[in-house]
């Protein structure tokens, strides 16, 4: 079937290295999202600065979420929570059902019980029926909330060295939800 005609070959040695330069950020992320869990991805942060920023990026978190959701029906939930803007007050969280589009506002007033008057809780990330919120006073507290059951937990405090420039999000493991402190 093939007819082959050689008309001057490019040096094999010269091209060998070029494939690593061709591994674009996008391609690397395609590889990272296929690692079995966030543990392996975190370990890859130690490879170099470029990998660290790729794995800490929102783009990685989102791609990873979509990939694992599409590849594992167990995490495919009929709803997710969206906010018009990241870092928005949790009172403006909406429930989203694919078949219905954007639907009702979710009342998360229960989170404010017993809090100081100016306590502000903002939505950081959502995943299925779970949302990740942060509330700030003198330091930042993170909460993971199941909005359906109205159960919530406070995450243990983080290493304070990193608190100024952090980004956080959910990473999905095949059969459980794993929380990743992505520090960037």
């Amino acid at each position: 079937m093939e007819r082959s005609r050689t008309t001057g070959r490019v040096g094999d040695k010269k091209k060998a290295q070029s494939f690593f330069n061709n591994l674009t950020d996008e391609l690397l992320i395609e590889i990272f999202v296929r690692l079995p869990s966030s543990k392996e991805a975190i370990r890859c942060k130690l490879v170099c600065n470029r990998w660290f920023s790729l794995i800490s990026s929102d783009y990685f978190l989102t791609t990873s979420l979509i990939h694992h959701r599409n590849n594992n029906n167990k995490t495919l939930l009929p709803f997710t929570f969206v906010s018009p803007d990241r870092k928005y007050n949790v009172k403006d969280v909406f429930e989203f059902r694919p078949e219905m589009g954007l639907s009702r506002r979710v009342d998360l007033g229960f989170l404010y019980w017993g809090r100081p008057r100016h306590y502000f809780i903002s939505l950081t990330e959502s995943c299925g029926d779970l949302i990740l919120c942060s509330g700030s006073t003198s330091c930042i507290d993170y909460y993971v909330i199941n909005v359906l059951t109205k159960q919530w937990i406070v995450l243990p405090p983080q290493n304070s060295h990193f608190i100024e420039s952090e980004s956080v999000g959910f990473l999905i493991e095949p059969n459980c939800v794993d929380f990743d402190y992505s520090l960037g």
């Binding site: 007819r3 391609l27 890859c44 130690l46």
Partner: protein, 163 residues
């Protein structure tokens, strides 16, 4: 008579690699690549591929031919073919994944990325650096800081091999 009609119906394409080798393939085989499909739709039958070298192109054409003839009965055969296809060196995998990405062959991309992920998942960061030909650009302090902040991820023994 029947056979002449058959050959006439088979539209052919010529693919030209970055090192100027030309390969003739059936259009139906080639259009599994989105990049080629778009060119074919625009009326091209000669497809230069400046980012794909002969070595990778030969392998990819093999892959496309095998997958173009997918039926219900040869499922096992294709699985074995795929397994052999990815059983190669990291350098070859990187070359193939770049080519598959350029050609937009999503099933091949998925398989190659998954293979690379599976093969690096238990490796130490040092081994991963060598495999990807990356120089570490952290200071020892920065490295220690990342390890400390993510201690759990660095517990246990890791694979130091480079294959």
């Amino acid at each position: 008579m029947a056979s002449t009609t058959e050959t006439k119906q088979k539209k052919m394409l010529i693919l030209k690699s970055a090192d100027n080798d030309e390969f003739e393939i059936e259009e139906s085989v080639g259009v599994q690549s989105e990049t080629i499909k778009n060119l074919v739709e625009d009326g091209f039958t000669f497809v230069p591929l400046p980012n794909v070298y002969t070595k990778a192109l030969i392998k990819i054409i093999d892959y496309l031919k095998k997958h173009a003839n997918k039926t219900d009965s040869n499922d096992e055969e294709i699985k074995t073919f795929d397994k052999d296809f990815v059983n190669t060196t990291f350098d070859d995998l990187f070359e193939l994944v770049s080519a598959a990405n350029y050609l937009h062959i999503s099933c091949l991309m998925n398989m190659l990325c998954q293979t690379i992920a599976d093969r690096i998942k238990d490796k130490s960061p040092e081994a991963v650096r060598k495999i990807f030909h990356i120089n570490c650009d952290y200071t020892p302090e920065e490295e220690a800081k990342i390890r400390k902040a993510n201690a759990q991820a660095f517990e246990g023994q890791f694979d130091e091999s480079l294959d």
